[in-house]
């Protein structure tokens, strides 16, 4: 029996949200009829019937998130065996639908509160909203999404369509900046002039699974494959007589960093816990071991001490050694600590595998090697794809403290400030202390504040009694 599937509308698309059914079970449809509205991370569009016939079954509900390729409706005689191809296992119900306990009984419409209303029409008769949207000329900035027509073609100016045909530009990869997401000349000119290039359509999937050291590591640390970025080439409109800003081509690593950090800040509910550590003993300890460095040994940095302390603490606070991905929480049995390394064009975070089990000397050698090769571009993908917890250290740049953006899908990141000489109260006296601030940014879906605070207490314990680092 013919099925209508969730289409793949762009290389980055993995799932789509079924916004609204335009047809009901039992409706007769002709091939090409719009049967549903879906929304991807980039666009809203209509799905068309691929066959003519009667819709025998709508397989997903409005608001459901459906992976690409999965059937959403059946067309044809209803000879479906009940339950035979129920696809619901993969369907993630949207917030606000029945699966959530939040209901809105005071909704003015008096509708069944479990019926998801389209946000734009909420509280208004449908007709009013439709009329408004027809009569109001949308400003370009208000509707950034690329829309498609019901036949799946992207809305683009005639000029753009001609240029795309002449220059082999794939408009599905171009973000439109015009009204209603129309792709206009400025959006494609960088491709016409060669200032930007597109990846071939058959590019590898956006994120290859990392050859992770343990099966439970669900996500790559950084992407090895060329992720195709939709990008708008329209510059900021500054026509006030000041020099126009110059478009700078983003290096790929910058783009990947930007996209991942945006995704993180927009989708991960961050919270932050900061603690001040007395580093006097750690400084003393570090001087001591570095003065007795064996031949060929790597000097132990403060960061190495923090890596070791955090790694040991993570074994006791596994909630922070976790990943939240695809709506699920994964625990890691390994402790692989990523070290964020600033490069000219962006960030990369190679990891020290099994840092909890490595000696300080081994950590020092590994980090020196990884940081050195990161800066020379000599890292292998398996050295930065993966990791379970990230440490970002700006201490060498005299930063008192800062908060970092979580490196998804990891549950937490530790931001390390400089060791400052500060007046501290000791008994009834003020003495010069050496203090360092540690800030943890954590994903509230994975862990709560109290646990992060306890983690920091454990880290403090290690750093303030640094001999324990050598024992652990």
């Amino acid at each position: 029996m013919p099925q209508v599937i969730m289409p793949k509308m762009g290389d980055g698309m993995e799932e789509g949200t079924l916004l609204k059914w335009l047809k009901a079970e039992g409706d007769e449809v002709s091939e090409g009829d719009a049967i549903a509205e879906i929304e991807t991370d980039k666009v809203s569009l209509e799905i068309e019937a691929t066959e003519s016939g009667k819709i025998s079954r709508l397989l997903v509900g409005e608001g459901d998130v459906v992976p690409i390729g999965q059937a959403i409706a059946q067309i044809g005689d209803d000879d479906l065996v009940d339950g035979a191809s129920e696809p619901t296992a993969e369907v993630i119900s949207a917030p606000g639908t029945e699966s959530e306990s939040i209901k809105y009984p005071d909704r003015t419409t008096g509708d069944d509160p479990t019926t998801p209303d389209s946000p734009s029409t909420e509280g208004f008769p449908a007709g009013v909203a439709a009329q408004t949207s027809e009569t109001t000329r949308p400003a370009a900035a208000e509707q950034p999404a690329t829309e498609t027509t019901s036949n799946g073609r992207f809305r683009a100016s005639p000029l753009v369509k001609r240029l795309a045909a002449e220059h082999g530009i794939d408009l599905q990869q171009v973000q439109g900046s015009g009204p209603g997401g129309r792709i206009v000349k400025d959006d494609v000119m960088p491709y016409v002039t060669g200032a930007r290039t597109q990846a071939p359509r058959q590019a590898a999937p956006a994120a290859a699974p990392a050859p992770a050291p343990a099966a439970a590591t669900p996500a790559p640390q950084a992407e090895a494959t060329p992720a195709i970025q939709s990008q708008t080439a329209t510059g900021p409109a500054t026509y006030s007589g000041r020099p126009a800003p110059v478009l700078r081509e983003l290096p790929r690593i910058r783009r990947v960093t930007g996209r991942r950090m945006t995704e993180s800040k927009q989708t991960v509910p961050h919270f932050y816990v900061t603690s001040e550590i007395d580093m006097a003993a750690a400084a003393e300890f570090r001087t001591q071991i570095n003065s007795q460095l064996p031949e060929g040994g790597a000097r132990v940095s403060f960061n190495d001490l923090v890596v070791k302390a955090a790694a040991l603490a993570l074994t006791q606070h596994p909630d922070l050694n976790a990943s939240f991905e695809g709506g699920e929480l994964y625990d890691h049995s390994n402790v692989d600590i990523n070290i964020a390394v600033a490069l000219d064009g962006g960030l990369i975070a190679p990891f020290i595998a099994d840092a909890d089990q490595k000696s300080l000397g081994a950590i020092a050698r590994a980090s020196k090697d990884l940081i050195g090769r990161a800066k020379n571009g000599g890292l292998k993908p398996e050295e930065y794809q993966g990791g379970t917890f990230t440490i970002s250290n700006l201490g060498m740049l005299d930063v008192d403290e800062f908060i970092a953006v979580i490196n998804p899908p990891q549950a937490a990141i530790l931001a390390v400030g400089a060791i400052a000489r500060v007046p501290v109260v000791q008994g009834d006296q003020i003495v010069i202390g050496q203090r360092m601030k540690l800030s943890v940014s954590a994903d509230h879906r994975a862990v709560d504040g109290a646990e992060v605070a306890r983690f920091l207490q454990t880290v403090r314990g290690y750093l303030e009694k640094p001999m324990t680092l050598a024992l652990g």
Partner: protein, 327 residues
């Protein structure tokens, strides 16, 4: 070259052609002894006499009909409408006779008449005396309709109009009679059906005719301050129409704003927009914008009159829409 006003350039065309061709006669209300309400024919009665510069009764239908008859018999009358608003009274003669006699007679009769006068508004003459009739007359096969904007064009196109074997609706920009410009000495007729690129540009085509051309030059200045290079096209001739120039321009700029003082519905701008989409569709990056007069009878009050006609701000705004920019 001589620097002269639109008014003097027009008068010199009439005088030159009357010198050259004895069959050229002028008819109209108060054009002789009084010199014309707008002084276009001032002094011509002294120079050419009252048989060639004929003061008529206040009867547009009558004297226009008489002039059509003269034209049918080989004269080359140039009829002044004190303003084009009064031509409604003569429109039956113009449309039913002048426009159709060549057709009705199988080409045996031609009507080489020029009907001229100030068109459009902007000078507080209120609703009955403020019309832009180029779209109206442009509708009728058999008429030629032109709307020159510069002294050079008004002279050159009047020479062409008088020599043309068919009826010509000569729409002067009344508000521009006093504006000055360079006019070449001698006989330099400007052909019909050829638009003029008043300013070259690369980012957007601003298209109009008549007095709005000057407005468009101001708009182009304003857009230049915003780093937008606007091309200004003066259509000059509404019928016959120069499609090639606007199509070439839009192929270069990918965007167009068409401006007119007349009302938008069924107007010159509508026709220009349609021609652009027919012939330059694959070059358009944005819908063609039209800026037109407000859909009301022309107001008398100065502030309302200004608001009712296209102004620099409105056109800049339309240009920015076509450029997908916030101004």
């Amino acid at each position: 070259m001589a620097n002269m006003t639109y008014r003097d350039a027009l008068k010199s065309a009439l005088a030159d052609e009357m010198e050259r061709d004895e069959s050229v006669v002028l008819l109209g209300e108060d054009i002789g002894v009084y010199g014309g309400t707008h002084l276009i024919t001032d002094g011509l009665i002294d120079r050419f006499g009252s048989k060639r510069v004929i003061d008529t009764p206040i009867a547009e239908g009558g004297f226009t009909g008489a002039a059509i008859g003269m034209a049918m018999l080989g004269m080359k009358p140039v009829v002044e409408m004190m303003t084009w608003n009064f031509s409604f009274l003569a429109s039956d003669q113009i449309i039913q006779n002048a426009a159709k006699l060549r057709y009705f007679s199988g080409g045996q009769i031609s009507v080489p008449i020029v009907i001229r006068g100030p068109n459009g508004g902007g000078v507080q003459l209120s609703a009955q005396h403020t019309h832009s009739l180029e779209g109206f007359y442009g509708q009728f096969p058999g008429l030629k309709v032109v709307a020159p904007a510069t002294p050079e064009d008004v002279k050159g196109m009047m020479l062409t109009a008088i020599r043309d074997p068919d009826p010509v609706i000569f729409m002067e920009a009344g508000a521009l009679y006093g504006t000055k410009g360079e006019v070449p000495e001698g006989d330099h007729p400007v052909p019909f059906g050829k638009a003029r690129v008043a300013r070259e540009g690369t980012d957007i085509s601003l298209i109009s005719y008549g007095r709005q051309v000057n407005l468009l030059l101001k708009v182009a200045d304003k857009l230049k301050e915003q780093d937008v290079s606007a091309e200004v096209i003066d259509l000059r001739s509404i019928r016959p129409f120069d499609s090639d120039t606007i199509i070439q321009s839009v192929q270069k700029t990918n965007r167009a704003v068409v401006v007119q003082e007349q009302w938008r519905w069924f107007s010159v701008a509508s026709e220009v927009a349609a021609i652009i989409q027919e012939h330059a569709f694959d070059y358009l990056d944005a819908p063609v914008e039209r800026v037109s007069g407000a859909e009301v009878p022309a107001p008398y009050a100065r502030n309302l009159e200004i608001a009712a006609f296209p102004g620099v701000e409105q056109i800049v705004e339309a240009a920015n829409r076509a450029l997908y920019r916030k101004g």
